[in-house]
Assembly symmetry: C2
Homo-oligomer: 131 residues x 2
């Protein structure tokens, strides 16, 4: 089955894109834990992130570092937190979440539901800092 | 100020070691979220993980991949979750946490307090699968 993230990669489902390379894609989580919450994925559909080969695994993380640097410049926060959970969508993804307290990364709590205009503005603010 | 993790690197504070290279160290979190919760650190003391240079950043993650592969072989779980928070100890560290539900990664909830014998057995079980 094609994952929802592969549908985003294919352009069948739209996204608020932050950055893209041949192998990787970063876009806003539309139900963020905090404002500026970004998902970073390999375009290659792999369930478990640790099943990526070393080159793809390192490349994905170096790509996420570029994105995280832009997030921390765009979004006021103490740190950009990182989480990989992988229990819901079977397509490896790294969550980058602007955090101010340890409880900000808790996927069991209710998510935000920002309006499209707000998501578009957040994406634009982060893209501004992508080198 | 020398971080508690640098004291572990220097051997001033003992740890339940999982794996070590010249640049990186993995050891059990003694107050784990779940059994098998491991911390992976660069020996170089850097507060924000995204401030590591690309070589150290990629190397740290590739080292964490080896450790995560051992954790998932040793500890029954659905996935090995990953988290980087960084609000408490100012020395970058990756949490590898065996998870079965999304709420398993929540640093605001009470931690486990396993007995030393239990920690030693967990460390030995994971080390068994380090290549």
């Amino acid at each position: 089955m094609v994952s929802i993230f592969s549908k985003i990669v294919l352009g069948e489902i739209p996204c608020y894109k932050i950055a893209e390379t041949t192998d990787y894609l970063a876009f806003l989580d539309v139900f963020p834990l905090t404002t500026g919450h970004v998902l970073v994925i390999p375009k290659q559909e792999t369930d478990n992130i640790f099943d990526l080969d070393n080159e793809q695994f390192a490349g994905l993380h170096l790509f996420s570092k570029i994105v995280a640097d832009a997030v921390r410049k765009a979004i006021p926060c103490k740190k950009v937190g990182v989480a990989v959970i992988g229990l819901e969508v079977p397509h490896a993804h790294i969550h980058l979440v602007p955090i101010n307290e340890v409880g900000d990364i808790n996927f069991a709590k209710p998510k935000l539901k920002p309006a499209p205009e707000e998501l578009a503005a957040t994406a634009q603010a982060i893209r501004h800092f992508i080198a």
